[in-house]
Symmetry: none
Subunit: 161 residues, 2 copies
DNA sequence: GTCTCAATGGGCCAAAAACCCACGAAAAAA
DNA sequence: TTTTTTCGTGGGTTTTTGGCCCATTGAGAC
């Protein structure tokens, strides 16, 4: 169960290598990996990628696939094919399992670099997002915080009251 | 149970050394730690940070996450994870667990220094706030007292009546 | 077949963080 | 008032680690 694991929290600044390599902070690396060692990188939005432990990601995929399947059962064959095509496209391009080198170092794959929008040698904000780790372009991170922050206290109060 | 523990009270002046290290007063350290040894540092406002025992903080987090889980139980796993992700991302910006060195000394982490607004070698007012310990920039503390003081008697009367 | 270029993985170094100790001052006890 | 102990602060040392650099390997082109 993903939620019962230790929460990934903390905000760190890291510089990207000239080969788009990044060293994860040890505070995030250990709980992110958990027991397994495989990592999934996913596209979130412009200026943001996310990293998931395969153990957390897999149930999410399975659940999504179950929903798709059940929806397809009721549909027509041609619609089924079309939706399968859409799904396959998303699965192929929006996520990818990546290896993790020694010292917790990973390479941001080719198709994911433009979305992040950080040039080699640039800086990346590494953010623990409870269930995953997010990689942000600094400007995009600042913008995100500026938008989300005002309502944050209220949301917390709502949840904890 | 956090509330049943001894209340954290008192006001102390401490100097921040050039490495952003701060020694907590022993009067506050022992009751703050309780049994566990981990601390959570949180951003309160400009000129003010707060310190919580992890034992006090964790139930609050668990409660918030439990609410999310129960509220979203009818939805998809994908949505549940997304909500946790949003919340966790914001939590990361406001708080962080920090280790405590010997002699009850802690290091104010990188992202928290600017909000406190105290340069290395400067002074910090350490205040017991009953359920947590607050670190204040002296000027901000004075301003806070100036604002809060007039209504103090009234609030006490309200609480004790 | 050979040369060149590029990608990948590993090793090294320096800066910073964590740890430890010691001194001095202040408070408490005698 | 004097002595003793506790506690806050500074500094030195060691270990970790983030960032840079190099070496080796594999692929592609000429």
């Amino acid at each position: 169960m993903p939620g019962s694991a230790e929460l990934l929290l903390g905000e760190f600044l890291r510089t990207l290598d000239d080969r788009f390599r990044l060293t994860l902070p040890t505070e995030l690396l250990d709980p992110l990996l958990g027991d397994g060692s495989r990592l999934v990188i996913a596209k979130e939005r412009t200026g943001c990628l996310s990293l998931w432990s395969a153990a957390t990601w897999q149930p999410r995929m399975d659940a999504a696939l179950d929903v798709i399947r059940s929806k397809l059962e009721a549909g027509l064959l041609d619609q089924r094919l079309g939706q399968m095509q859409d799904l396959g496209r998303l699965l192929s391009t929006r996520q990818r399992t990546i290896p993790l080198a020694g010292r917790g170092r990973l390479v941001i794959p080719d198709g994911f670099r433009s979305l992040l929008g950080v040039e080699p040698g640039g800086e990346v904000v590494v953010v623990g997002a409870a269930v995953c780790v997010e990689l942000w372009q600094p400007a995009a991170w600042d913008a995100c915080i500026a938008v989300e922050m005002p309502g944050f206290r209220q949301r917390i109060d709502e949840l904890t009251s």
